[in-house]
Symmetry: C2
Subunit: 454 residues, 2 copies
């Protein structure tokens, strides 16, 4: 029976599943429940709204509930799923406006509840003006507070914090980023993290402070209950008007803990390549699921907006009776700090050792055009390969030049297990405006080959 | 015996072979003979010197004879090879300054004589101010003439002509491009050629005329023997001060016709994956060799500066006793017309049919950033795949956006025979500044999948 498909979650994967399923099957009944008021928006765009790059937050919305209703997809906003009964094939839904609870039956269920912020174990996180950034409402709240603020603290040194650094600089704020690890962006090797840190600091001298190896132990507030100070274990006291917690996210799956649905790493929902959970008629997609890592060949958790879209599409095709397989991911990430691209694919050198590979690497810093062309951008690439198999394990790339033109050439090579010796002669198109005669990424491959053979 | 290596040719492949071989073996004797005065320069950069993008032509020179001599590599300029005696292992060299001829012995010979322009069968090609563009001296001659000219005719509609269009526009000239085929850039499908033509014309209205389906039959000159008119078969008369012949090139191999060395297509030198010719101690690299096409699995001829560098490096490694294989190419090409990228990998839709594939394609025009980000560049991609195997056969890309970031993701996927269904879920890194959540190239793959499955 595939008469009624119920989707839980309104971020990226849920709406994508709904829209694709409707295209595949004009008649199937589709209902989508989300605890938020707004559905189908790009959470990745929120820092750019805060940074005034995007003026109207509505531009981040891909489809409105009205758009969906026109396609005969029923949308229930402010409707939270409290639990799933897989025997009865029912959900318990709470209407957050009225507080009413009611049961909803399904033939096929799609879990797309995304991820939620991790609130760190720090004293007084309940103070006013301490924010997380996950929803459109979060971004509106932060933006309103920024208007009357001049100092901010960012907790955590991940991608979101780098994007928020730019947003806060755009608002002329002084920012302190506090990271408990020895360096920020810890998926990178330390050398690359250091270069990124140097770039950030040097671009905005005096405006941005990056503190590493610092544990925040307490927030202090004024008599209105507003945060005013951040206190670290080493005794530092940072005055601030606003705190943004970029201290990670976790799968939004607590409501499933008694459902019998199999969990993967970090309480994510374990899914097969068809996006099915351990229950054949329950699918899951997006940030709430686990992911197969095509480099390490292990399951891990890698919540990404692009993956959510692909997984939602894949789930929809299979629900409609088609055949789609989502093989896995490579933990591919990228962002920009102003004009400076920061990208990472696969695993770092340090993680390659951790996973038992015998990694070798090459780092090159090159122009992204022929040496004689004016206005080149610089790119610095660190390519990592395994000495045993000669397979590529990952690449890190930074710079003001066209980094991702190089990065993207590596991704299918990792997938296809292309050996370094073959990769280094790859026929990337050349013209003086687009690359040196030997592209920097091929140059890096040549250097590793030389190292491995000697 | 590998005591003495003689290299013929001083463009890209020859000097690359010499330099890499010296790094691999500090003691081996290396001599390089070239008929030109200047060696080791980027011919691909010549249009940018003519267009005043590069002020000093010396910037195009990678290494001078003096640089080589410091590495104990003997360079003989203005020294043309007249023939090769593979039995005696000798060359006949003509000193172009004195006219003297002398024999040179070799243990290992490297043929890297490149390509030379095809002079079309048109009346009066010997008139003054009719140029080809292949050497540094050609570019100096053209640039000198341009200074006193206002009108130019470009014959032939290949990449060089597109690059020369920009160079001539930079010199405020009125340009007429004449192509005998129904459309320019004939490696592209006609729809893409038409879009490129429209872009070129619209960017410079009134300054550039593109005539297709026109055969030039005659040049006419004044009493000083200078070209003044171009006459076409259909009766058109175009007044001009200068003509540049972009009517193709051919392998520079006439001197080898009695050598017994096996020729490939178009009188190119047939080489193995080790860059060896049919004589085990004679290698060849660069534009004078044939190439294995990794898409059609046939030998063809694809003279490219990037390939020349890779082949020269490969030959050097093998000569030095190492093991390097150059598997082949995909006819990858790219250039820019001002800010507009033009790229092509693999084969076109029309060629796919010609080669017996059952091609399907998808054309997408998309922003190169998330929809809500300001200042996106547009990219138009045409992805081509085979209905039988689901392998990708080629991609054409144009636009002011970051075309090659997408193009480069396809190349290793062609090499690795990645099926479309796998490719469409490739984990290309996503951030709003770098791409839509589903990259345009993956979107194109999804569309072909839909077409093939329906």
């Amino acid at each position: 029976m595939r008469n009624k498909v119920v989707i839980i979650g309104g971020g990226a994967a849920g709406p994508k599943t709904a829209a694709k399923l409707r295209r595949e099957n004009p008649n199937i009944k589709i209902e989508l429940y989300t605890q938020e008021e707004i559905i189908s928006y790009s959470a990745c765009g929120l820092p750019y709204f805060i940074g005034n790059v995007i003026k109207d937050v509505n531009n981040l919305i891909v489809r409105t509930p009205e758009d969906f209703r026109k396609q005969n997809i029923e949308i229930y906003t402010k409707s939270r799923c409290l639990n799933v009964n897989t025997e009865k094939q029912t959900l318990l839904i709470e209407d957050l406006s009225s507080g009413n609870k009611y049961e909803v039956g399904y033939d096929i269920l799609v879990l797309a509840t995304g991820a939620i912020p991790v609130i760190p174990d720090i004293k007084n996180t309940e103070l006013k003006n301490i924010f997380t950034l996950r929803t459109v409402q979060d971004s509106i709240n932060i933006k309103n507070k920024i208007k009357e603020s001049s100092r901010a603290v960012l907790l955590g040194g991940g991608y979101i914090s780098v994007e928020m650094l730019e947003a806060l600089v755009n608002n002329n704020m002084k920012v302190t980023l506090i990271e408990k690890n020895p360096y920020i962006l810890k998926m990178f090797d330390e050398d690359f993290s250091q270069m990124i840190t140097d770039y950030i600091i040097n671009r905005n001298p005096g405006q941005i402070t990056i503190m590493t190896n610092e544990n925040v132990t307490e927030f202090k507030g004024n008599d209105k209950g507003e945060v005013t100070q951040v206190i670290t274990e080493s005794g530092k006291v940072i005055d601030t008007d606003i705190v943004i917690l970029g201290t990670g996210v976790r799968p939004n799956t607590d409501f499933l803990k008694d459902s019998g649905i199999e969990f993967g790493i970090n309480n994510s929902i374990h899914v097969s390549q068809t996006m099915q959970t351990s229950k054949f008629n329950i699918y899951a997609a997006g940030d709430c699921t686990d992911n197969f890592n095509l480099v390490t060949n292990r399951y891990f958790w890698s919540p990404m907006g692009s993956t959510a879209n692909k997984e939602g599409r894949c789930a929809a095709i299979n629900i409609a009776g088609g055949h789609c397989y989502f093989d896995g991911v490579m933990n591919s990430t990228t962002t920009k700090f102003f004009n400076y691209t920061i990208s990472m694919i696969g695993i770092s050198y340090k993680d390659a050792i951790k996973y038992g590979f015998q990694p070798e690497y090459a780092t090159v810093t090159k122009r992204d055009k022929a040496g004689y062309m004016p206005n080149p951008g610089m790119v610095t690439l660190k390519l990592i390969a395994d000495r045993n198999t000669h397979f590529i394990l990952g690449i890190q790339g930074i710079g003001e030049g066209n980094v991702n033109q190089r990065i993207n050439a590596v991704i299918p090579a990792i997938l296809g297990k292309t050996k370094l010796k073959t990769f280094m002669n790859l026929d990337l198109p050349y013209s003086p405006e687009h690359s040196p005669a030997i592209d920097p990424v091929l140059n890096a491959a040549q250097i590793i080959c030389n190292k491995i053979n000697n």
